[in-house]
Amino acid sequence: MKLDINYFVILPQIVLTFFFLLQLVVDAYSRSTGRKSYVGYLALVGYALLAAIPVVVWGVTDTGFNGMVLFDKFAQFMDFLFGIVGILIVLIAPRYLDDVGRDRGEFYILLTASLLGMSIMVSTTNLILFLIALEIMSLAVYVMAGFEKEKGRSVEAAFKYFIMGGVASAVFLFGVALVYAGTGSVDASLIAKKVAGCKVLPVVLGGLTLVLAGFFFKIAAVPFHMWTPDSYEGAPTPATAFMAVGVKAAAFAGLMRILIVSVKPYPLVIEAILWTVAFLTMLIGNFMAVIQDNLKRLLAYSSIAHAGYMLLGLLAYKNGGLSAVLFYLLVYAFADIGAFAVLIALGKDGEPVEYIDQIKGKASIHPLLGAAMIIFLFSLAGVPPTAGFFGKLFLFKSAISAGYIWLAVLGILTSVVSLYYYLRVLVYMYMYEPSDVVPARQSVSVGIGLAVMSFFVLYLGTVPAKFIDIAIDALKKLV
C-alpha cells in the first residue's frame, strides 16, 4: 500500500503537536528552575498560528493519507474557530487559576492537547481516527475539569464526566463496529457509497444511530445531557467555558460530517431522531435554566438549550441549516465564553463567582463588566442588534424553509423563556445594592479577552454578512 504522506493537510495538527511537546519541555524546565511557567504564552503563539493557518491557506484544499484526512474549507473554518476559542480561554484562565491557587502549566498543555484532538476530529471521516481524536480531546478535558483536584466538586465533575464519557465512547465504538460489520468499512464517506441503493441494512442503521448517540452525549443533547450541569458546575470556570464552547463545537462539526453521509441513505429515521432530540433539548434545557441559582449551572443548561437550537439547523441540512449552525457556533463561542469571562473577572481571591447572589449590584462597581455582560447575555438570548440575533434568525429561517415550523415555533418560544433567566442575571447585577463595595482585582488579559469578545459580538451583529458568506462557503463542498 502506498504511503500517502501529505504534510500540508496535517499542518494545523503538526503545529499543535509541536507546541504540545514544547510546552511539556518548557514547563518541566521552568519548574525545575523554580521560575514562573510561561507555557501560557507559548499556548497563545500556538493557537494564534492555528487560527492563522486557515486564513492564509483559505480555499487551498487537499486530502492526504489515502483520503483519511480532509483539509477542506470546513476543516479550515473549524480550525480557525478552535484557534480563537483557545486564545480566549488562555486569556481568561490565568486570573481564575490564580484565584484558586492553581495557576499551573498543565492547564495549557492539556488545552493544547484537546485542541489537537478537536482539530483532527473535524478533518476526518474515518471513524477510527475520529474516535482516537475524540479520546485525546476528552481525556484532556476530563483532567481540566478536575483541575482543582483538592476541591470535591471539581473532582466530582471530572469523575462524572469521565464515567459518562466512557459509556458514550463505548456506545460510539459499538456503533462503529456494527457499521463495519454491515459494510466492511470504517470510513463514513465509503459507507454512504456502499449502502446507497441497497435495501435498509438494520445493522448499519443501528450502528449509525449508536454513533449519533455518542455525538449527542458530547453536544449535551437531552436525554444524554445529565452530566452537563454537574460537570460544568464543578469544573474550574475556564474549563467550563471550554467544555461549553470548544468541545461542543468540535462535536457538532464531527456530527455534521457523519450526519451528511448517514442521512442520505436513511433520511426518515435520522430526521425523526433529530427531531425528537432537538425538541427535548430546547424544552428541557431552557426550562431547567429558569430555576438555577448557580450561575455556572444556569449557563450549563443554557448551553444545552443552545445545542437544541443548533440541532434545529442540522435538521434543516437541505435548506442551509448547516451553514447557519457554523455561524451560530462562532457567535455562540464569543458570547458564551464572554459570559464565563465576566464571572471570572468578578471573582475574588479564593472566592470565585458561582451564585447569583455573589453578583448583586456588581454593575455599579464595575460598569464595564456590567455592559459586557449585557452584550453577551443579550446575544445568547438573541436580541438584536447583537450577533445572537442573526445566529438565531438564520437557524430558524432554515428550519422554517425545511418545513419544521412547529419546531421553529418551539425554538422561538423557548428563546422567550431564556430571556427570563438571562435577564434575571442582569437584574441581580444592576438592580441591587452591592453587598460589598471592594472592587475585584483587575486583570489585563481578561480585560483584553472581554474587549475582543464584546467587539465581535457587536461586529457580527452589525456586519454579519462576511462571516455568513464564509460559513456558507465552508459547507459548499460538504453538502
Binding site: 459518562m164 441559582d293 455573589q358 438584536p384 434568525l393 421553529a408 422561538i412 422567550v416 454578512a465 455568513i468
Partner: protein
C-alpha cells in the same frame, strides 16, 4: 423613488446624546447633561421638519424618499439594508415622535431636577428617541425589529429607573417579559414573511402584493398578519398582553407620557399601517384585530372607572384608546387610526404631564382620594388638563373629537366593521368621558383632602414644565383641525377639509377597503349620538362626584361583586399567574427537577450561607448514592429512544 441623504441624522443626534451622557454623564454637571440631551432631540425634530417639507415638494403619488445607509446583509438568501424610508406615514410618525419627545425632554428638566441619576435618565431618554426613530424610519421589518427591541429595552430601563424599589424593578421585568412573548409572534411573522416574500423590504413587499397579491396563499398571509399582530398586542398593550402597561406606571411620569402614552405603545398601530396591504389581503386577520381591539377598548375603559391612582386611570385609558386605534386598523380605516394616534399623542402626553405636575406638587402622592381642590393652587395645570380631558372625551372642536368620531363612524360604515363594533365604540366613549371627568373632579374640584404636611407645599410647577404643557394643550385643540370630516367641512364651506387623510392617502390607496355610503343626515345623527354619549358621561361624573359625593360609595356597595371585579381588573393578573407563570415554574421546579436535580428542591429561597452548607452535604450524599447511575440510565434510555425506531420499523 428619490433619495434623501440626510435622514440618518434623525436617529444620529440622539445616539450621540446617549453616548455622551451614557459614558461621561456621571462626571458632567446637570445643565450640561440636559443641554446635550435637549439639543440632540431638538436637532432631530428640526431635521424631521425639514424632511417633511422636502416630502411635500414631491408629487403626492410618489412621496417615497429613501436614505440607503449601508447594506447590512446580502447573503444566504437574505438582503437586508440599513435604509431609512420617508413617506407620508413615517413623516407623521417621526414628527410626532421627535416633536412630543422634544417637549417632554424640556419638561423632564423640571421634573427630574432632584434625581441623583439625572444623567442616566437623559441617556436612556435619548436612547429611546434613537430606537423609536429607527423603528419609524426603518425601510424593512428587520430594522424595524431592531428599533422595536430597542424601545422595549429603553422602556424596561426607564420603568425600572428607580430600581431600589423592588416592586418597580419587578414592573420593569414584567414589561420586558410580556413584550418578549409578543416578540415571539413578531419574529415568527418575520421568518414567515421571509419564506413567502423572499424579501423583507416594505416597498418590495407592497409591490409583490399589488402585482401578485392574488397568487399568494391567503392562509400564509393571514398567519403572517396574525403573528405580527401578536407582536403588536405586546408592544401596544392589547388583550391578552396589556397587563404590563398599568404596572409600567412605576417609571418617572414624563416617561409614561412619552413612551407609555404617546409613542412606543403606538408602534403596533404604526406597524399595521406600514403593512396595511398585507392586512388588507388577510380579512380574517383584520377581523381578529378589530375584535381584539374592540374588546380591549371596552374592558380597559371599565377597569379605569374604579382606579384611584391618577396614573393608573390614565394607563387604562391609554390601553382603551389604543384599542380605538386598532379598531380603526381592523376595519380598514387606516388613516383614521393614524389620525387618532397623532391626536392621542398630544392629549395623552399632556394628561400625563399634567398628572406629573400634580404628583410633583403633591410631593409624590398619586392617590386621588387624597387630592381635590387643586384647581386654585395650580391653574395652568388645571386648564391644560381640562383641555386634554375634553379632547379625550371627544367634545368638539377639540382634537380628540375629530379622530375618535372618524373611527366610530368608520367602524360602522366599513365593509369590515358593523353595528356591534360601532356600539362598543360609543359605549366606550361614554365610559371614557365618565372616568376622565371623575379624575378631573376628584383631583381639581371639591375639598382638598391632602395631608397637612403636603398641603402647604402645593404649588404650580415651574415654567420649564408648564410651557410644554401649554404647547401640547394648544395642539390638543387645533391638532384635530387637519382631519375634519367632509360633512363638517361643508358646513364651514371648506372643500377637502380632511387634509390629513388626503396626505396619507397614497400610503393606503392600494388596500381597497370598501366603505358603505350613507346620507349626510345619517352621518350627522351618528355624530350626535357619540357627542351626546360623551356629554352623558360627563354629566354622570358631575352628578356623582360633585353633586352627590356620597353616592359612589353606595353604588359600589350595592353592586359589590361587580365593583370588586372591576377594582381587581377582572383578576387577569392573578389568572395569568396561575395559568402560565405558576405552571411553568412548577413544571421546571417539580417535574423536571425531581427527575434530575432532586437535591436542590428544599433549598429554593434559602440564603447563600445555608446553601453552601447544604451544598457540601449534598456532594457527599451524592457521591455515595452514586447518582451517576441515574445519569447512565438516562443515557441508555436515550440510546433506546434513538434505536427504538429500529424495533418499530
Amino acid at each position: 423613488m428619490n433619495n434623501i441623504y440626510y435622514l440618518w441624522l434623525i436617529p444620529f443626534f440622539p445616539l450621540v446624546g446617549f453616548i455622551i451622557n451614557g459614558l461621561f454623564g456621571k462626571k458632567l454637571p446637570k445643565p450640561v447633561i440636559h443641554w446635550v440631551a435637549n439639543v440632540a432631540v431638538w436637532s432631530s425634530f428640526t431635521v424631521a421638519v425639514i424632511a417633511f417639507f422636502d416630502l411635500l415638494k414631491v408629487v403626492p403619488g410618489q412621496r417615497i424618499l429613501v436614505d440607503p445607509v449601508y447594506r447590512w446583509i446580502f447573503t444566504g438568501g437574505l438582503a437586508i439594508d440599513i435604509k431609512f424610508l420617508l413617506d407620508p406615514l413615517s413623516a407623521v410618525m417621526i414628527l410626532v415622535v421627535t416633536g412630543v419627545g422634544a417637549l417632554i425632554h424640556v419638561y423632564s428638566i423640571g421634573y427630574m431636577h432632584d434625581d441623583p441619576s439625572y444623567y442616566r435618565y437623559f441617556a436612556y431618554l435619548n436612547l429611546f428617541i434613537f430606537s423609536m426613530s429607527i423603528l419609524v424610519l426603518a425601510s424593512n421589518i428587520v430594522l424595524m425589529f431592531v428599533g422595536w427591541e430597542g424601545v422595549g429595552l429603553c422602556s424596561y430601563l426607564l420603568i425600572g429607573f428607580w430600581f431600589e424599589d423592588e416592586e418597580k424593578a419587578y414592573a420593569g421585568r414584567k414589561a420586558f417579559i410580556t413584550n418578549r412573548i409578543g416578540d415571539f409572534g413578531f419574529i415568527l411573522g418575520i421568518l414567515l414573511m421571509l419564506v413567502i416574500f423572499k424579501t423583507l423590504d416594505f416597498v418590495e413587499i407592497n409591490k409583490i402584493l399589488i402585482y401578485h397579491g392574488e397568487t399568494l396563499s391567503v392562509t400564509a398571509l393571514t398567519l403572517i398578519a396574525i403573528f405580527l399582530f401578536i407582536g403588536a398586542t405586546g408592544k401596544s398593550a392589547q388583550i391578552p398582553l396589556y397587563v404590563w402597561l398599568p404596572d409600567a406606571m412605576a417609571g418617572p411620569t414624563p416617561v409614561s407620557a412619552l413612551i407609555h402614552a404617546a409613542t412606543m405603545v403606538t408602534a403596533g398601530v404604526y406597524m399595521i399601517g406600514r403593512l396595511n396591504l398585507l392586512y388588507a389581503h388577510a380579512p380574517v386577520a383584520m377581523a381578529i384585530v378589530a375584535a381584539v381591539a374592540g374588546a380591549t377598548a371596552f374592558f380597559a375603559a371599565t377597569m379605569a372607572i374604579t382606579q384611584n391612582d391618577i396614573k393608573k386611570v390614565l394607563a387604562y385609558s391609554t390601553v382603551s384608546q389604543l384599542g380605538y386605534m386598532f379598531m380603526a386598523m381592523g376595519v380598514g380605516a387606516f388613516a383614521a387610526g393614524i389620525f387618532h394616534l397623532m391626536t392621542h399623542a398630544f392629549f395623552k402626553a399632556l394628561l400625563f404631564l399634567g398628572s406629573g405636575s400634580v404628583i410633583h406638587a403633591m410631593s409624590g402622592i398619586q392617590d386621588m382620594r387624597q387630592m381635590g381642590g387643586l384647581k386654585k393652587y395650580m391653574p395652568v395645570t388645571y386648564w391644560t388638563f381640562l383641555t386634554a380631558t375634553l379632547a379625550i372625551s371627544g367634545i368638539p372642536p377639540f382634537a380628540g373629537f375629530f379622530s375618535k368620531d372618524e373611527i366610530i363612524w368608520s367602524s360602522f360604515a366599513s365593509s369590515r366593521g358593523g353595528v356591534v363594533l360601532w356600539a362598543i365604540g360609543v359605549i366606550t366613549a361614554i365610559i371614557t368621558a365618565f372616568y376622565m371627568f371623575r379624575l378631573v373632579y376628584m383631583t381639581f374640584h371639591g375639598e382638598n383632602r391632602s395631608p397637612e404636611e403636603v398641603k402647604h407645599h402645593i404649588h404650580e410647577s415651574p415654567a420649564v414644565m408648564t410651557i410644554p404643557m401649554v404647547i401640547l394643550a394648544i395642539l390638543s385643540v387645533i391638532g384635530g383641525w387637519v382631519g375634519v370630516s367632509p360633512v363638517i367641512g361643508k358646513l364651514f364651506g371648506v372643500e377637502n377639509s380632511n387634509i390629513f387623510e388626503e396626505f396619507l392617502h397614497p400610503v393606503f390607496a392600494h388596500a381597497h377597503i370598501h366603505f358603505h355610503h350613507y346620507s349626510e343626515a345619517t352621518e350627522w345623527w351618528f355624530m350626535a349620538i357619540s357627542v351626546g354619549g360623551a356629554l352623558l358621561g360627563i354629566l354622570i361624573a358631575f352628578y356623582l362626584y360633585i353633586k352627590r359625593t356620597d353616592l359612589p360609595r353606595k353604588i359600589a356597595l350595592k353592586v359589590w361583586p361587580l365593583y370588586k371585579l372591576l377594582f381587581n381588573k377582572y383578576y387577569v393578573d392573578e389568572i395569568y399567574y396561575y395559568l402560565f407563570i405558576h405552571p411553568i415554574y412548577l413544571i421546571s421546579l417539580l417535574f423536571l427537577w425531581r427527575f434530575t436535580d432532586v437535591y436542590v428542591i428544599d433549598g429554593v429561597g434559602v440564603n447563600g450561607s445555608a446553601k453552601s452548607v447544604r451544598f457540601t452535604s449534598r456532594i457527599l450524599k451524592y457521591w455515595q448514592n452514586g447518582d451517576a447511575q441515574v445519569y447512565i440510565f438516562s443515557f441508555v434510555l436515550g440510546v433506546v429512544l434513538v434505536l427504538g425506531y429500529l424495533l418499530l420499523a
